[in-house]
Amino acid sequence: MSGTQAGLVVAVFIACAVEATEALTIVMAVGVTRSWRSALVGVGVALVALAALTAALGPALTALPINVLRGAVGGLLLVFGLQWLRKAILRASGLKSYHDENAAYAEESRAAGDAGPVAPGIDPYAFFVSFKGTLLEGLEVVFIALTFGSNQKDVPLAAAAAAAAVLVMVGIGVLIRAPLARVPENTLKFVVGVMLTSFGTFWGGEGVHAHWPGGEVALPVLIAGYLAFALIAVAALRRLQTARDEVLSRPVRA
């Protein structure tokens, strides 16, 4: 396995583990509060829709010429990665609230409890909430797995990493029967943001004929550089916050 393939597996696995954790919280909340059967049917229908989307888009993407693919899909991956990294920097510096699975679970459970009596057979509320949660979180998984897989010309490897992540997280969820609050989601999102941004820069650059010094060696350099930048940005924003809080806490003199 080459360094790029190893990076692909790590990035796709972590990204998919994070998304699976979030979907699992939603499904557990409606399953426990309303109907497991309806929630699981919702998950099943969403998985079929995601599989159909993957089957339709995967071959179409891999059929594109490599430079077009890397320019367009690498660029998309870069925009997507920058979104993740931006949010991760804002969360780590205290400018955006952290994602808390226990809080999300409590909120989903409360909403599910307030949604009226559980319908016999398939409960529409449990079905649609778990369908929507799985589909939306799954779309990110499909997007990441397809962009990584098609750029690396190895969709099966990316799909295997994604499937492994989902199976691991669902397995842990079934074992502990609680939301996966101990998964260090915010740290993982930080790592994923750096990885997606680095791979997006590398592939996007190659797609528009930028020649990276050292070829594939540039990729770990990009990862290290973006990680260093993100950590410096977090430290600077935290200092700014602290300075602002100090100014605000000073007593006002008449």
Partner: protein, 67 residues
């Protein structure tokens, strides 16, 4: 019509997210890299530079609004 609008809104949020300037900067940087790469000038540094600059601007704006 409203469904199409909702789908477009979803796609916009999904891909572009909270700050459209990031997507715009990436598109401009990719186009500029493509144009410059036709000459003999090395241009690999442009994309990472744009990433660092636009990310700094985007997070700094949020911090400034909060303070």
């Amino acid at each position: 019509m409203s469904r199409i609008r909702a789908l477009l809104r979803f796609l916009w949020d999904f891909v572009v997210g909270d700050d459209w300037r990031i997507a715009a900067a990436v598109v401009v940087a990719l186009a500029a890299t493509l144009v410059v790469s036709e000459s003999s000038i090395p241009v690999w540094w442009l994309l990472p530079l744009v990433v660092v600059v636009i990310l700094s601007i985007s997070v700094w704006d949020v911090a400034r609004r909060r303070s």
